[in-house]
Amino acid sequence: MAQEIAAPLEFERVVLSRPPAWVRIWALARRHPLGVFGLLCVALLFFCGILAGVISPYDPYFINGSHIKEAPTLAHPFGTDRLGRDVLSRTIWGARISLLVGMVSVLFGVTIGTFFGVLSGYLGKLADSVIQRTVDILLAFPPVVLLLAIITVIGDEDSAVRRFLTDYTPIPDGTFLGVPVFLDIFVIAIGIGIAVAVGTARVVRGAVLSLKENVYIDAARAMGASDWRIMTRHIFPNVASLVVVLGSVFLPIAILAEAAISFLGIGVPDPTPSWGADLTGPNRTDATNNGVWWVVFFPGLALSLVVLGFNMLGDAFRDISDPRLRGGGLGPGPGSGPSRRGL
């Protein structure tokens, strides 16, 4: 009961003397240092990904026979790999690959997933049954195994998806955005996107089911709006914020998925500087057998920091929106257990 009384009081105080925006942001940042750290990691990912061509000190593909497997020095802060390529430059370019795959797969997956989710939730009946049973079946596969199966099928050199992309879409076959195998990366992103779509469809459907019970939907229908109009004008705008949140949740997962399948050797092909691909193959042998640790340490560190950043940012957002999980500030330890409520 104490909380119920306290809440409006605090609210009033905030309204009475509202400090300027930067003060509030600073206060928020002070309270969530880990969230700020997360934000920095994510910002660094976008910074490196977008400006890879400008900030990387060397060409990530440049083979230099006279600087092979050099330990980190001032000229090469992250060292060089078995072909004398600069690991720092490759790590920076890896951010672009990760970002590309992450963005494309999330945009694709969330769009498809939302489409089917809205359709399934709003139309109900047969459409709902068909879509939901399909989702049930897809969710019956362990995620990594589902992803492996999808990539095996659509990653094939002659797969229908790949042929469709080369023949009917303006996606360039060769170098694009400084990435030589852009189409390969795109196909992988589509594969991850399919897995993202499955998750999205389920969540969006749930939201639509409760949304469509609203009176304004009935009102729209009474005014003679078509199903299509109701779905696009009344349902979709209301799930849009949920979809954005889902996208931000799926982004680190997609980045991790790309790294994992590249690590397994069926993702982004070799010379491309993907964080996952750089952890495997000859680099891995160099690290585990010859002590050339820097060729795997730094790409993996970058990947870990990005995922860590997203997780910490997500945790901070959740703490802000749901203070019950915060734990701290609920009073000291066990003695306060019984007295915590009802005083």
């Binding site: 049973r133 990594v144 002590g291 995922v307 997780n311 734990g327």
Partner: protein
């Protein structure tokens, strides 16, 4: 309870059928069938036709599916295109490796997840809470394959240690030589367990925080019970129910993770077999293994659901 089990088993049948059909259908989408792959470069139309006939690929789609399904149900998962070894016999030798890895990882995940989660919930704001929460975010974020490589790399450079199976690729059974077996399996299982332990820890913590607010916990305190009794006997039992459901989902991660971890630590298990089959485009093996993994996942979830209903009778009438 009996009705609930029967209802769940009946629901299982269409899912299983759908899973098997989708698995079968998805590998038919690839242009160029198995015969082309087996036939290789110097392929004449006659040999291609013979191979097709031998594999039954000239039969209609539904008959092929029926044959495959019949084989799967009777325990005949087909054979590899390349090695001509039957999948079933390969599985027999590899199952102990994957089973030990995943079971050990699950146990480690529970041990590393539940006690810190409880501690962190009953002592919020303390150093222990902070350490538990920070390490859980860390384990959730560091990809398991990266962690595995770091352990092998720095184990070798700093301590001159590497997993004993690394040189040979062979594993020793637990009962033959427990010490050597643990040397092989401890780190892979730990690496696989950490992310799952982190999820379990976070859920245990939030679920405990929730439960500790209940009236019956206040009653337990005011009866004068010791903290140990309140936390472990009254609160934890109820807090474990949501944790149990998440374990079902985590089994999926375990299975998927085994593919990755077996490749990192050179363990010759089923996950590694799947990866090799994918890389060599041995599609029949891939198809059978994908089905096997999916069925394991579905069954694991069923077991968790049943356990859930058994522990919390409210579920059965929901």
């Amino acid at each position: 309870m009996r009705d609930f089990i029967i209802r769940r088993l009946l629901l299982l049948a269409p899912i299983m059928l759908g899973v098997s059909f989708l698995t079968f259908a998805i590998f038919r989408v690839i242009p160029g069938d198995a015969a082309v792959i087996i036939c290789g470069f110097q392929c004449t139309p006659e040999t291609l036709h013979d191979i097709r006939h031998e594999l039954g690929l000239d039969e209609p789609f539904y008959e092929q599916y029926g044959d495959w399904l019949k084989g799967v149900v009777t325990g005949d998962l087909g054979e590899s295109y390349h090695t001509k070894l039957s999948v079933t016999s390969e599985l027999e030798s590899r199952l102990p490796v994957t089973a030990e890895l995943t079971i050990m990882a699950l146990i480690l995940a529970l041990v590393l997840g539940i006690p810190p989660g409880v501690l962190s919930a009953v002592r919020p704001g303390t150093m222990a809470d902070w350490v538990a929460r920070f390490s859980s975010v860390l384990w959730l974020s560091v990809p398991n394959f990266y962690l595995g490589i770091l352990i092998i790399t720095f184990g070798a450079t700093w301590f001159g240690w590497s997993p004993p199976n690394f040189a040979t690729g062979e594993t020793v059974g637990f009962f033959e030589d427990p010490w050597r077996n643990l040397q092989t399996f401890f780190f892979p299982a730990l690496v696989l367990a950490l992310a799952i332990a982190a999820v379990i820890m976070r859920l245990t913590r939030s679920s405990m925080l929730e439960v500790m607010r209940n009236d019956y916990i206040r009653t337990a305190w005011s009866k004068g019970l010791r903290e140990r009794a309140v936390v472990w006997r009254h609160a934890l039992k109820n807090a474990m129910i949501p944790v149990l459901t998440i374990i079902g989902v985590q089994v999926g991660l375990l299975i998927g993770g085994s593919v990755i971890i077996e490749s990192v630590f050179a363990l010759n298990g089923i996950g590694f077999y799947l990866l090799v089959a994918i890389l060599s485009r041995d599609l029949l093996v891939v198809q059978s293994l994908v089905l096997l993994f999916a069925v394991t996942f579905v069954v694991a979830n069923l077991v968790v659901d049943l356990a859930y209903a058994w522990l919390d009778p409210r579920i059965r009438y929901g």
